[in-house]
C-alpha cells in the first residue's frame, strides 16, 4: 500500500497529458531514417547479374529476361519479402536502394509484384560505381 501516493501522482499527471496514441491515417508517424522499408529499383543501373536473387533468403526476387535489351532484370514480390535488405547490400551496381516506405497493405496481391515495364528498360551499359562488397 506504500506505493499508493506514487501511483496516484502518476494517475493525476496522466490526466493533464496528451494521449500517446496518434490518429494514424490523419496524423502520420514517420519511422526512423534508418528503417528498412520497401526497396527502390533503378533499371538504368542494373546489369542483370542476379546476385540479389541469389542472396534473397525467401526467394522474393526472381530474374526476368527482357529480349529487346538482352538482359535480365529482377522482379520483386513484396508478399514474400522480409525486408532484410540483403539485396541492397549484394547489389554491386547500386541499382537497388533502400527507402523507409512501409505502407504496403493492399487488397490485391498482384499489386505487390513490382517489375519494370519494357519501355523503362533502355539498352545502356551502366558504369560500375565505387562500392565495397563484403561477400565474395
Amino acid at each position: 500500500m506504500n506505493f499508493m501516493p506514487k501511483i496516484l501522482r502518476g494517475v493525476v499527471s496522466y490526466v493533464f497529458k496528451k494521449p500517446v496514441t496518434k490518429q494514424y491515417p490523419l496524423e502520420r508517424v514517420e519511422p526512423a531514417p534508418v528503417f528498412r522499408g520497401k526497396m527502390s529499383f533503378n533499371p538504368d543501373l542494373c546489369v542483370g547479374c542476379g546476385m540479389c536473387a541469389r542472396d534473397c533468403p525467401t526467394g522474393a526476387i526472381t530474374m526476368e529476361f527482357y529480349p529487346h535489351v538482352k538482359r535480365k532484370m529482377p522482379k520483386f514480390y513484396y508478399g514474400l519479402c522480409i525486408f532484410c535488405h540483403q539485396c541492397v547490400e549484394s547489389c554491386a551496381w547500386n541499382a537497388i536502394k533502400p527507402t523507409t516506405q512501409f505502407e504496403l497493405a493492399t487488397y490485391d496481391k498482384k499489386q505487390l509484384i513490382e517489375r519494370v515495364s519494357e519501355q523503362e528498360v533502355k539498352p545502356v551499359k551502366p558504369r560500375r560505381p565505387e562500392k565495397k562488397l563484403f561477400y565474395r
Binding site: N2, V34, R36, P57, I82, F134, Y135
Partner: protein
C-alpha cells in the same frame, strides 16, 4: 479422491504458446505432468541445410523472434570460427550493445507478462511502456523494432553515429530510474510476493542434475553464465557480474531477470564508453572451408548452442541447434508436483518459455494413431539427403 487428467494447451488463455501439458490432479494438487512438445515444428534445421550461409543469417533470426539477436550472434560466431575469421573490435562491441538491448527487451517482456499473469495489469502497462523505449532504440540502431538483421558474417551491418550513442546513453539513465521503482515493487508488493514466493521450488541439486540453464539455474543459486564462463565477442573486455538468487522459487527466477536488466544497462554504457574506432565489417567469402564448429552464447533465456558441419561450398551440410527452453523444460516439470492448479501459469512463466525455439527439433512419428520409433541411422537412410 480419484486422479483426474487436466489438459492444458495447446490453446489456453494462460499460455500464449501452443504446447500441450497433461496435468494429473488430485483435487487441486498436481501429482504428475506429461509434456508433449512438437506443435510448432517447422523443419528449420533441414531447411537451413538447403540455403546458403548468407541466407541462413535471416533464417536463424526467425527461429525465435524475441531472442533473434542471440540466434544470429551465435550463428555468425559459429560460421566465423568455422572460417577462422577475426571480427573487428568495433563490431564486437556493437554486437554486445545490440545483444544487451535485446536482452533488456526480452526480460521486460517476460516480467510484464508475469505481472499480467498474476492480475497486476498496472505493472504490466508500466513495464511495457519502458519496453517501447527499448524497441525504438533498436529501430534507430538496427533498422527494425524486432527483427534486427544486424549481425552478419564478418561483423555488423551498420555503424553507429554520435546521435544514436547519445540517445542510447540517455535511455539507459531513464530506464535505470524507472526500473528501480519496478524492482522495489517486485521486492515488496504483497500481491507479487503471495503469488511468486515459495512457488515452484527447484533445488540447486535438482537444477544441476536436470541441466537447467540461464536465469532458471541462476535463480537456484548456480553461478552459470556463458558470458562469464566462456566469454565471446567483447565480453572478454567487459567483465560481467553474474546475478544469482538462493531462494530457488519462481520469485528468485523473476528477480534474477529484474537484476540482470541493471547489469545489461551497465554493459551497454561501458561498451559505448570504450567503443573502439575502425571498421565494423570485413569482407568474407561466400564459400566456407570444410570442417565443424560449435558456438555458444547466452541468450536471454539461457545457453544457446549451434553446431555447424560443413563439407565445403556455399551451403552447410548440417546445422544443429540447442535452445534454452528445451533444457529448461525438464527441470521445471518436476517443480509442478505438489503445487496447485492456480500456480501453473506462474511456474510456466518463471522459466520464460519459448516453444517456437524448442519445437524446431522434434521428430514426430505418429501416423493413424500408431506410434513407432526410428533410430538415427534409419532416419538418415530414409530422409537424409
Amino acid at each position: 479422491m480419484a486422479i483426474t487428467i487436466l489438459p492444458f494447451g495447446p490453446q489456453h488463455p494462460a499460455l500464449a504458446e501452443p504446447e500441450h501439458f497433461r496435468f494429473k490432479v488430485d483435487g487441486e494438487v498436481i501429482v504428475d505432468v506429461e509434456v508433449k512438445i512438437g506443435y510448432l515444428h517447422r523443419g528449420m534445421e533441414k531447411l537451413m541445410s538447403t540455403k546458403t550461409y548468407v541466407q541462413n543469417i535471416y533464417m536463424s533470426e526467425r527461429i525465435c523472434g524475441i531472442c533473434n539477436v542471440a540466434h544470429t550472434t551465435c550463428y555468425v560466431q559459429t560460421v566465423e570460427s568455422l572460417a577462422g575469421l577475426e571480427v573487428p573490435k568495433r563490431a564486437q562491441f556493437l554486437r554486445v550493445v545490440v545483444n544487451e538491448l535485446a536482452r533488456i527487451h526480452s526480460h521486460l517482456l517476460i516480467i510484464g507478462l508475469a505481472a499480467h499473469e498474476v492480475g497486476f495489469e498496472t505493472m504490466f502497462m508500466w513495464i511495457w511502456r519502458d519496453r517501447e523505449l527499448v524497441m525504438r532504440l533498436m529501430e534507430e540502431l538496427t533498422g527494425n523494432r524486432l527483427m534486427s538483421a544486424y549481425n552478419t558474417i564478418g561483423g555488423v551491418r551498420r555503424d553507429v553515429d554520435e546521435k544514436v550513442i547519445s540517445a542510447l546513453k540517455k535511455a539507459c539513465t531513464t530506464l535505470r530510474e524507472s526500473f528501480l521503482q519496478i524492482r522495489k515493487v517486485f521486492l515488496e508488493d504483497p500481491l507479487i510476493r503471495t503469488r511468486f514466493v515459495n512457488v515452484g521450488l527447484l533445488k540447486s541439486r535438482d537444477a544441476i542434475a536436470r541441466s537447467a540453464v540461464g536465469p532458471v539455474a541462476r535463480g537456484s543459486g548456480i553461478k552459470t553464465d556463458v558470458r562469464a564462463d566462456d566469454p565471446y565477442q567483447a565480453y572478454k573486455d567487459i567483465p560481467i557480474n553474474v546475478v544469482t538468487y538462493k531462494e530457488c522459487d519462481s520469485w528468485a527466477r523473476m528477480m534474477v531477470r529484474v537484476d540482470e536488466i541493471f547489469e545489461c544497462l551497465r554493459l551497454i554504457e561501458e561498451a559505448l564508453e570504450n567503443l573502439p574506432s575502425g571498421e565494423v565489417r570485413i569482407p568474407v567469402s561466400r564459400k566456407m572451408p570444410e570442417g565443424e564448429a560449435i558456438g555458444r552464447v547466452e541468450a536471454p533465456r539461457g545457453e544457446l548452442l549451434y553446431h555447424i558441419i560443413s563439407k565445403g561450398g556455399e551451403k552447410p551440410y548440417r546445422i544443429k541447434i540447442r535452445t534454452p527452453t528445451f533444457s529448461n523444460l525438464y527441470p521445471i516439470v518436476a517443480t509442478f508436483i505438489g503445487e496447485t492448479i492456480a500456480d501453473i501459469p506462474v511456474i510456466l512463466i518463471s522459466i520464460d518459455p519459448c516453444f517456437c525455439c524448442t519445437d524446431r527439433m522434434e521428430f514426430v512419428d505418429v501416423n493413424s494413431g500408431k506410434v513407432w520409433y526410428m533410430s538415427t541411422s534409419e532416419i538418415k537412410r530414409k530422409y537424409w539427403r
